[in-house]
Symmetry: none
Subunit: 218 residues, 2 copies
DNA sequence: TTTTATTTTTAGTCTTATCTAAAAATAAAA
DNA sequence: TTTTATTTTTAGATAAGACTAAAAATAAAA
């Protein structure tokens, strides 16, 4: 059994691993968790003893498979609860994070199973982030076309299919570039057009645009 | 803001006040919370400083109105979550206590408000216990113990005093739940045992059973 | 390759909530 | 009313998780 603090460390390290690929530095963890590096060192040594991560002094840490599974399960619960809050309690997608941050620590496998079923076994949370399955596996989607995304899914722009000047100039005007996050707010099935969110701007795009933008959804 | 431990103390003291009417002893709190009396003394002094209860050495403690309100709110959340678990996630009424014990500490007024609406503003939890309103007021009903009824009197089951798994499972076996009509066919004054009618079944129950079932007679 | 800057760790302290053991107060019994 | 038993409190210790300040290791710059 892991304490609330331990779970939060594992979760933070998991997320940092995704971003930076590989070992995570003490300072990076401290930054993300808003604590001091010395506190991180203490905790990381404790978690290394529990064999949920491997740690070498001054060399950073990396989760073990068992640590990764625990972290993924916390994230699973977080995202399932976010779905509950938005879909069932009608919260807005920007109001749910802090509450889910508490709910993610409720311990009951049965509860998670039933909640998952109650919500219709969703694959994504309200922000479009994928929900890990009970084994901690995330459905890792390779880059896809923006046009393949559905309502409420989110992606990061990783490339373009067509690279004509007109198209790239259009993207510049809309402030879309490699690394830009895009969220699908609505999708019209008749003509494949979309309403998307880019930064704080929301606007309409045609299917032709959406079919020429590669996004990554994990 | 009160810590998880503080909330649990307030809740325990609240329940003990109901039972014993008036000041609550240090030992009683320790018993209920499964801690040592010395720990209780420490916490009670701390809570007295915070003015949620009043405490005089060796004389026991009693909640202040503000302490009582906080306790009632924790109980409100506990019972609302129990309704959620049973009504929405199809848990059985003997499986929900421990999970609700965790959920009751989630901090978000908005969440409670929306949960309450989502559940249809229930007045009672799955065990028949009343759910305090947002001000901490409880709708007090005229319930009595089945053991107080005499031969030929009738009542409707409205709650349980004990809610251990064993007892709830016994009731299931006998097909007794909230709303079930019960008629006393016979009562043995020597040991308080009864013969009762539930639906078309007639059977014997011990005094211990009768003392843990609440009924309403009007 | 030194020197300087940055990162990370260690050592020691603090708070919360718990415990044990002993002392003090209250209640019960002789 | 004195003695005995019970309850409650105090004193001191411990564990988790955080902090500050200083030391050690690594990385960057001269």
């Amino acid at each position: 059994m892991f304490s609330l603090a331990e779970e939060n460390y594992l979760k933070a390290i998991y997320h940092l691993e995704q971003q930076h690929q590989g070992e995570v530095s003490t300072n990076a963890i401290a930054d993300r968790m808003d604590t001091k590096p010395s506190s991180v060192t203490d905790m990381v040594q404790k978690l290394a003893d529990k064999e949920v991560l491997s740690y070498k002094k001054y060399k950073g840490t990396i989760l073990t498979p068992s640590g990764r599974k625990i972290a993924a399960n916390v994230i699973r619960k977080h995202r399932l609860w976010e779905v509950f809050l938005v879909e069932k309690l009608n919260f807005h997608w920007d109001e749910v994070h802090e509450i889910a941050e508490q709910l993610e620590h409720i311990q009951s496998e049965e509860l998670v199973k039933r909640l998952d079923d109650f919500l219709g076994n969703p694959d994504f949370d309200p922000h479009g982030d994928p929900i890990p399955d009970k084994h901690g596996n995330i459905k890792r989607t390779e880059k896809k076309l923006l046009s393949e995304l559905n309502k409420n899914q989110k992606g990061v722009c990783v490339g373009v299919k067509e690279s004509s000047g007109e198209f790239l100039q259009y993207l510049d005007k809309k402030r879309i570039s490699i690394g830009t996050k895009i969220k699908v707010l609505g999708k019209e099935f008749f003509d494949g057009s979309m309403v998307i969110q880019v930064g704080k701007d929301q606007f309409f795009i045609s299917q032709k645009i959406a079919e020429n933008l590669y996004v990554q959804t994990n």
